[in-house]
Amino acid sequence: MRMLINVAETVVADALRGMAVAHPELTVDVENRVVVRRDAPVAGKVGLVSGGGSGHEPLHGGFVGPGMLSAACPGEVFTSPVPDQMVRAAAAVDSGAGVLFIVKNYTGDVLNFDMAAELAEDEGIRIAKVLVNDDVAVTDSLYTAGRRGTGATLFVEKIAGAAAEEGQPLERVEALARQVNENSRSFGVALSACSTPAKGSPTFDLPAGELELGVGIHGEPGRERRAMMTSREIADFSVNAVLDDMSPRNPVLLLVNGMGATPLLELYGFNAEVQRVLTERGVAVARTLVGNYVTSLDMAGASVTLCQVDEELLRLYDAPVRTPGLRWGA
């Protein structure tokens, strides 16, 4: 497997060094692995901190900036950051209005953010937490770690970010973030496994002519393997999997997300099929976002996320945002 890297051990630090020079509007602390918007802390504004393993770019560092995250903590590839990073990020963005931790539901992320919340509160920082768990491919029961957090993370960070930017209080920003998560569902498919720098080869074996249905974003296999399907068939399967789990009454936000190695040509074609199924199922789409936003290194494939919105959530989604990975209206 050929990768454009030096050595696996420095992949994250090297990327952060490059990010720092590309985005002078961010403060990138390469040594401590914290990405902060340069004007933080903003007086009176709730801080939004997220983070998780690296390899999902632009999530999360690419979503730092006005209208979205205040800071992000990138961990090692596919490994959650450590509490020290999160405490440092919280301290950097807290203006006294408190900090919301946005945590994807993976055991490592949950445990490290829990420990960080305790430590930050010891330092006098008010912390609230929201767990993102939108992936319908995982059975949500006592006998699993619960649903994974995937594409809905973008909607949670965007909408809560807009609310925080308006100066809304911590309790309100937290409630909105929770509402967005509860209104969101996702389903992903993989057409190839991804390769982590540490392993240097695909994380699972996917023969040509087959695909994995119901994958997450860490290169783990999904809930079943089938013979390769057309874009039309994959759209039917994915959207139905999502709609089997939610019945949107209002219009929805739609994210057609690439896993990292699927070209936009294919993603737009897939989006056409996704919109066709949604129309057939009577679901109105208010906004569509197509691109690689919550990725899994070089995995080929796509995921579909729907988020049911009301007027308030749609207004906050449309609010200006200025980050490396998402930018409009500003």
């Binding site: 090692e76 055991t107 699993t144 982590t196 392993k199």
Partner: protein, 205 residues
């Protein structure tokens, strides 16, 4: 009686063993996880060995608390908090005695394993590190050698289980047939305890 030097040797032996087995741990993590268990633990225990070289706490409890804190600060993922908590809580249970008995170590390690179960919400049979740690603590009352054998057996016994915690749980039935990487690395930790007891000089590599 076991002194601070014994516990330092335990940690050094674990670091050596994890370095030696990192690739195997990552290979085990590949079909059911995300192929980084070996590299993550290697990073953490290398940091533990380095900090113990620099600072030499003079009680068994302080050695384990320092090691645990170092793991939490360097590993990330689920392994960082879980292994960090295991060592910190074991260390806390040992108190500030300069030397502890094997019985005291057994009781303290049981407290550490209980803390891991509480934190991770896993019970025996969930296909996690608990499946090698619980039998190891039970066997530790007999001897270090018995604990090592029990931990190895516990790790092997995870193969036919369906994972109910951690990333492997997302695979449901597809997790069956793979040995759990966490139970395997926990067995390395217990084996290193036996190594520290049996061949004190050989562990300083």
């Amino acid at each position: 009686m076991l002194d601070a030097d014994f516990f330092r040797r335990w940690m050094t032996a674990t670091a050596a063993s994890v370095a030696h087995e990192a690739e195997r741990l990552t290979a085990l993590d590949s079909p059911i996880g995300d192929a980084d268990h070996g590299s993550n633990l290697h990073r953490g225990f290398t940091a533990v060995a380095a900090v113990l070289e620099k600072e030499a706490p003079d009680t068994p409890g302080a050695v384990l608390i320092l090691a645990g804190r170092q793991l939490i600060s360097t590993v990330g993922g689920a392994s960082g908090p879980l292994y960090g908590t295991l060592l910190r809580r074991t260390g806390k249970a040992l108190g500030d005695a300069a030397e502890v008995s094997e019985e005291q170590l057994t009781d303290a390690l049981r407290a550490g394993v209980d803390a891991v179960m509480t934190l991770g919400g896993a019970a025996p049979g969930d296909k996690t590190m608990i499946d090698s740690l619980v039998p190891a603590v039970d066997a530790l009352a007999e001897s270090f050698t018995a604990a090592r054998a029990a931990a190895d057996e516990g790790a092997l016994a995870t193969t036919p289980l369906q994972a109910r915690k951690g990333r492997a749980s997302y695979l449901g039935e597809r997790s069956i047939g793979h040995q759990d990487p966490g139970a395997t690395s926990a067995a390395l930790l217990i084996a290193a305890l036996a190594t520290a007891a049996e061949a004190p000089e050989a562990t300083d590599v």
